[in-house]
Symmetry: C2
């Protein structure tokens, strides 16, 4: 085929993918070409706009390294990550809502027993976290594996800090016989996503801020259930209505309640002002 014009080229490109052996890949390429061409026909880019797009995508790829994933930031800030999350989590009643994994999860975090302090000695307001893990139908799940990770009081994760020699503010727990996990940490802070790259340029050019409201990340797995990836957000945060990555859900917001010095929920004493986060998680059963 020859003589492609703005009307017939889309069908011609799709036809070129007709021999794709993998049916799923063929389906994806057909849809990609259809929607990419519709976008181009809609905005009718000039050559200089096309060149700007090529340059933006190139710089986005070149910003990535082992510690920075700029294309995930782009997906996050365009709402694509949360849309993929929503499509993959059509949940039954009782199952906790999900949100983005984010770029700061680390495999093989330190293992802790209930009651431990995961702050790694970092300064901040004492936060006592209590969580329960159950199936969506309410059945408690002892032995569930609970990963937690969060920012420090300045909004940085341990992997962003060059002054730390070991993990801090992250760890892995196992739910006890009542399906409970509890530990000490510090109050997390709101923080901007990394904005010194192409995604930051995009946010600046469109008058968007890069901030995320304060939250604690949870990843919870148990045999027979879908692994739950979510956050719990701190009520009252100024960025709850404008999270740069569109991750906030009302069901994931909790008071990180203020308390005077005294007895903590695990029976230990503290001489300091402390805060309290409690959340009951529900896991979705795997499809039979």
């Amino acid at each position: 085929m020859r003589d492609f014009d703005e009307h017939n080229i889309t069908a011609a490109v799709i036809e070129r993918f007709a021999g794709t052996p993998d049916a799923r890949l063929k389906r994806i390429m057909d849809s990609l070409v259809t929607h990419l061409h519709d976008f181009i026909r809609d905005v009718e880019p000039s050559f200089s706009e096309w060149e700007a797009a090529i340059g933006f995508l190139t710089r986005t790829g070149q910003m990535c390294d082992g510690k920075r994933q700029e294309f995930i930031l782009l997906s996050d800030t365009l709402g694509a990550s949360m849309l993929v999350d929503a499509i993959n989590h059509r949940l039954p009643a009782g199952a906790t809502e999900t949100t983005v994994l984010g770029p700061f999860f680390v495999q093989d975090a330190p293992k802790f027993e209930n009651g431990a302090d995961i702050s790694g000695g970092l300064e901040g307001e004492l936060l006592f976290v209590e969580a329960s893990v159950a199936a969506a139908d309410g059945t408690m799940l002892p032995g569930a594996v609970v990963d937690v990770w969060q920012s420090d009081e300045e909004g940085f994760y341990d992997v962003q800090r060059t002054d730390l020699s070991s993990a801090a503010l992250r760890g892995q727990f196992v739910a006890d016989a009542q399906g409970r996990v509890y530990f000490r940490t510090i109050q997390p802070a709101a923080y901007p996503i990394p904005d010194d790259g192409p995604v930051g340029e995009m946010l600046t050019a469109t008058n968007r801020h890069p901030w995320r409201p304060a939250h604690v990340h949870f990843m919870i797995s148990a045999p027979g259930y879908e692994t739950l990836v979510t956050h719990v957000f701190s009520a009252g945060d100024q960025y709850l209505d404008s999270d740069a990555v569109f991750g906030v859900k009302n069901s994931l917001i909790r008071e990180f309640a203020h308390h005077q010095p005294g007895r903590l929920p695990d029976g230990t004493e503290t001489g300091k002002h402390w805060r309290h986060l409690a959340y009951d998680f529900g896991l979705k059963p795997l499809a039979a």
Copy 2:
């Protein structure tokens, strides 16, 4: 706003771009989000497919350097480049059709007089090229600047060959008083686009070949006219119907006619078999 789901997130992301100062950028971001989300809703990617897409885009950016532009190859092989070309060239009768610039154009190519040999000493079948440059209404355009560039008989451009110390098979001419340009070169060959990167992976996975039919590139500019970027393709090439970048138009195909040794069109003699390409170009007037 909070609680975005697969149905309301698109409007929420578009709303986030409401404060974009530049109206054109706002229009582009709105359309991008609409079409990107429609694509995601259509194919419902799994997380691992989303991760594969992030990885593909990242590797595409990281394949780019001063001599390689993998995102342009991706745009070309998805038909996006030719669609942008078509949208930007709605031509009047008499104007030559356009095609992709490609990655091998070089600024400030060597300047030649009519009758010159641009082969740089490279071996190949002698090709005598004659071109005329006129406005779409037929008015001859003396003084038009004509850039030409092409592959060698093995399908490589000079910038791809590490054994060449100076330019070859490219040059800039000025049309004479009759609007004519003529020169000696060698017959170009079909060639594969660079396929050792992510775009090559995509072509392999979809059973597509990377070849382009043999052609000579032309870029022609004259005051008061849109700069013409096009190729002339060699009739009979096996890839005319399956050009990897969708660039072929019937009006751009010519016989590169075979001739016995003897007199060339410029009156000089050759003792070799030679081929003859003649093309009359028409330029579109700039909008008033």
